[in-house]
Amino acid sequence: SQQGEEDPQALSIQEGENATMNCSYKTSINNLQWYRQNSGRGLVHLILIRSNEREKHSGRLRVTLDTSKKSSSLLITASRAADTASYFCATLTYRDDKIIFGKGTRLHILP
């Protein structure tokens, strides 16, 4: 069953601009994670935010979590061509020891 849903499905921005992607989920979570996937490659873990955290930073990445709205956002600042990839949110519920992925946002950074 689908737990996380990313929005938008696709996003194109100019290099140097900020990119924001959103994720909504349905049930209470233990944590929420964001992953990046370059075309034809495996996924790379970017950042994990726990349900009791509201914001987390890692380099040019900023993740927020609003458990009351069951939503999260991933902000990439000062985008670069190398940021072109698909970005997935994934949620871990309290019941399970597995994470469920959304369908992803395809980000394209224009030169």
């Binding site: 994670q33 495996g42 996924l43 020891d97």
Partner: protein, 114 residues
Amino acid sequence: SQTIHQWPATLVQPVGSPLSLECTVEGTSNPNLYWYRQAAGRGLQLLFYSVGIGQISSEVPQNLSASRPQDRQFILSSKKLLLSDSGFYLCAWTGGVPINYGYTFGSGTRLTVV
């Protein structure tokens, strides 16, 4: 350091043929192991996961099966492939309960059933 190996990278198989994809993890013990499938332009679908040798949980009933013959080895199999089995197969691992850790993924196997 921990590494995950997945092979082969690409595979073209005829309908009705068997399948065996292998995934191994190095540098850790008793990992949780996972098989995901990704259809073209889609998200990831969890197929199987294992928390220990011989322990397999199936998420989606289909003609695929998984086995864990050794602690750090996870195998995805099929006796007879269908066209709908085409996709990108990803193996992943995490150490113990994944409350504080993300998953580490292999590089994937692109399977085309013809």
